[in-house]
């Protein structure tokens, strides 16, 4: 697997490099915005920001190619909007919403079959785990889940590396 990863890393356009770029940039921004906090509330906010940044940069790296990435971006933007009078997200969010909704309606019938086939609990659990999974039939859901797992793996690796570097440099 190493060689595979290796090549994907060296590829400037690979998912990993895209994600890393986005993530690091957002980390820098966060650090600028919030100087290293001392108070727990600030720390909490910071943690949350970092987590959101990680998710968002992953979704952006994937782009709109996948249902789950679109759903995740949509969710993040909605959350940001709801958060308050901060910088409003782009209008794209609305479009994403519509797409998701439409898909949901169409897949309703299939979803019922899916549940019977594979176990209602599990399917619903999977749907909740995978962003945007509510609106997909089992077939697509499995597809998206597979891609999502791949991307999550990438994300974990990258964050882990970054964290290690950071922690090392912190001393």
């Amino acid at each position: 697997m190493n060689p595979h990863h290796h090549s994907s890393y060296l590829n400037p356009n690979s998912l990993k490099s895209r994600f890393t770029k986005n993530f690091l940039r957002s980390l820098i921004k966060i650090n600028k915005q919030t100087p290293f906090p001392c108070r727990p509330t600030e720390m909490f906010q910071r943690c949350h920001k970092v987590k959101t940044a990680a998710d968002k940069s992953l979704a952006c790296a994937v782009g709109s190619r996948r249902v789950w990435s679109r759903a995740m971006l949509c969710k993040i933007r909605n959350r940001a909007l709801r958060r308050g009078p901060q910088k409003p997200p782009s209008v794209r969010r609305i479009i994403i919403n519509n797409r998701t909704m439409k898909k949901g309606f169409n897949c309703l019938k299939e979803k019922m079959n899916d549940d019977q086939e594979a176990g209602i609990d599990q399917t619903s659990k999977l749907r909740k785990l995978v962003p945007g999974g509510e609106a997909m039939d089992l077939c697509n859901l499995l597809d998206e889940a597979a891609h999502y797992i791949k991307c999550l793996n990438t994300q974990v690796q990258e964050i882990h590396d970054a964290e290690r570097i950071e922690s090392l440099g912190k001393d």
Binding site: T20, L24, A118, Q157
Partner: protein, 523 residues
Amino acid sequence: MEMGDKDKFELEKRSDNHINYHSPDSMPSDWRYSSANVANSSLGLVSTDNQMPVCRGDLVGVSSCSSASMVDSFSPGQWDHPTNSQYLGFCDISVQNNASTSNPMGIRKGGPASLRTGLDKTLDIGWNPPSSMLKGGIFLPTAPGVLPQSLSQFPEDSAFIERAASGLKSLSVVQGQKNVMNMGDSSRDTSLSVEHVAIEGSPLKNEKKSGSLVRSHDEAKQGVGGSGNESEEAEFSGGGRQDKPSKLEGNGGEQSAKSPASKKRKRNGQDADLDQAKGTQQSVEAAKDNPEVQQKGDENPTSTPIKATGKQCKLGSQASDPPKEEYIHVRARRGQATNSHSLAERVRREKISERMKFLQDLVPGCSKVTGKAVMLDEIINYVQSLQRQVEFLSMKLATVNPRLDFNTEGLLAKDILHSRAVSSSTLAFSAEVPMVYPPFNASQPGFIQASFPGMESHSDMLRRAINSQLTPMTGGFKETTQLPNAWDDELHNVVQMGYVTCAPQDSQDINGSLPPGHMKAEL
């Protein structure tokens, strides 16, 4: 004969043609033979179907004969001409019809499968070859442009033409691949074969050669002209997928629809995979195949046609599913229900199991798991653990005081470099993560000291070296799902790491990592 000319035709063709299929020359004789059998003049139509312009002439000749005499008109010479498409079309038909006799894939054109199936049905009567031939011939001139012209020339012997057209189509469609398969299958129903032929012709042309029978059904109806086009196209496409196996109702217009169906059949023959074609289509095809039957013109997915299809499919389908095009052509396997709903269900289930297998590879430790429920559970656990990992790591990252110099590029480079080392650790989802994943950089103590204060790659290397020490701590991180307690350990590690000011100077063993110089180069 109920089968109609087509049946006879097919039957004859089968018997004779199988040998001849292989060579165009031989074909004529077969054709001749079959044509003789065919009482209809539709034979002429058959020949014209083929894409070849010659076919046109043949068809014309054929069509001119409105009776058995027409058969004669199919003089070998005529047959010779349409060797290409016509033959193919015919071959398919006959092949199918003969199923047993041979599969001279001479007529490779259409999906033989579809033809065959149709032909087979008709062949039973022994007329298959003729009928199939008719169809094939008609379809042969599948070239969309050609066919119409050729067909228009013949007298309208609708029944005959239809049959011939369907037969031709299937022949043409088969293009040889299916033919072989179909041949075997076709022995079954002459009526179906006819339909298949028709259908196959069209589907092939269109795109998919799913060889569904539906097409033949339509083709028969539409007459030679319609089906011919389809078959021609199918032939031309040579394996192109036929369009959706929509039922082709009516003439001409539906040819393409038919062709998908017939193509399906043919394809199935080739693929040896009889998925279930749409039930309706099948029925349609079946119905169409038999001119007599078709005359009624309904393509409903009656049980008979479907069954025939199923049987035929069975022969072809033994194996893999045909590639799925816009319309999923599925052939019913032997002993399986051919209801359209169950067919679709089966396809869907296969898709799902395919994906489950893929997921099995992704999720570590799931190779032995069987069953969807357990597999899904594993997947859910894995996704949950990954998400928790991300959360935990990002929290860790947030708590770490960022370096003053947030060198993005450096970080990226480090990440890239790290990935090599880390990938091994992250891969070790299972518990036994070897504690030491030696950093790939050959950081020596010297490096560490030299680069300690800086943020350049040297420092990166230094960090990596230090990280290697930490790897053991973080290595367990990957085992989250299996060791929930590891989370607590990790937390401790985080805290410890925060306080680690000086990592041991000794660099751990490094596995083949690039020397620092290399790393820089990568930057």
